[in-house]
């Protein structure tokens, strides 16, 4: 289980940040103002979360006039798929070894 997923997991571990990202995935491109209106936290807090998401490659921004529009970068989630396939393989091979042990164990 090598590392490399840390940034993605740590970024999405914060529930508010993850919810902002989920909203961008669900509803498409949004401004900070639109996100703030439904976030339950202040606009500076939303901006800070967007900055963290951007550094993790999870959102991209587009400037139009005085507005900045944010959208989700779904391809950045690929490591999550890798995590599920890696952990599925990990547990399958551990259970293989568990079965070997059970064969050797006394009743």
């Amino acid at each position: 289980m090598p590392n490399g997923h840390d940034l993605l997991f740590r970024t999405l571990a914060d529930p508010t940040r993850r919810a902002i990202f989920e909203r961008l995935c669900r509803d498409g491109e949004q401004t900070v103002g639109a996100l703030t209106a439904r976030a339950g936290v202040s606009q500076p807090a939303v901006s800070k979360h967007l900055g963290v998401l951007k550094r993790a490659g999870l959102v991209r921004d587009r400037h139009a006039g005085r507005q900045t529009h944010y959208s989700a970068e779904l391809t950045a989630l690929a490591p999550l798929s890798e995590w599920t396939s890696r952990m599925t393989g990990f547990w399958k091979s551990r259970i293989d070894d568990l079965e070997d042990l059970l064969k050797r164990m006394d009743q």
Binding site: P15, R18, A19, R23, A39, L77, L101, L102
Partner: protein, 136 residues
């Protein structure tokens, strides 16, 4: 399980094992036996006990959540920047035991802060596959 399982990042592996639950339970809960199939550890089957698994690539920080002998064992599994929960479920069958291990990240109790956030990880993967398909 309930709807929460669809709202988290999770994997599950099922296996039919030709041994009774109590024998498997020993292999899941006795440190010297755990070491033979999983990793070195200082596990104790006591709710709240903190322990770790150690391997050549690093260690996993854990805390025992559920101990129901011969039925359910659950502990946190904190590794690779993700705090997840590993749950073992043993169900007796006519030929032995149905063994299930499930690992879930981003637990439901971490998901309350943003109103209306109900977008499941399964749907992320669905959307992701569509994106990757379009990128030929």
């Amino acid at each position: 399980m309930n709807d929460a399982s669809a709202e988290t990042l999770s994997v599950a592996v099922d296996r039919e094992v030709p041994y009774p639950p109590d024998k498997i339970w020993r292999a899941l809960t006795q440190p010297h036996l755990i070491e033979e199939w999983l990793m070195q550890n200082d596990f104790e089957p006591v709710v709240g006990h903190r322990f770790d698994f150690r391997a050549d690539w690093g260690s996993v920080d854990c805390r025992v959540l559920v101990v129901e002998p011969n039925r359910t064992l659950s502990y946190t599994w904190d590794a690779m920047g993700l705090e997840s929960v590993v749950t073992w479920t043993l169900t007796p069958t006519s030929t032995g035991t149905h063994l299930r291990v499930e690992q879930s990240g981003f637990r439901a109790d971490q998901q309350q802060a943003y109103q209306g956030a109900k977008f499941g990880w399964q749907r992320f993967f669905g959307a992701l596959e569509q994106v990757l398909a379009r990128a030929d």
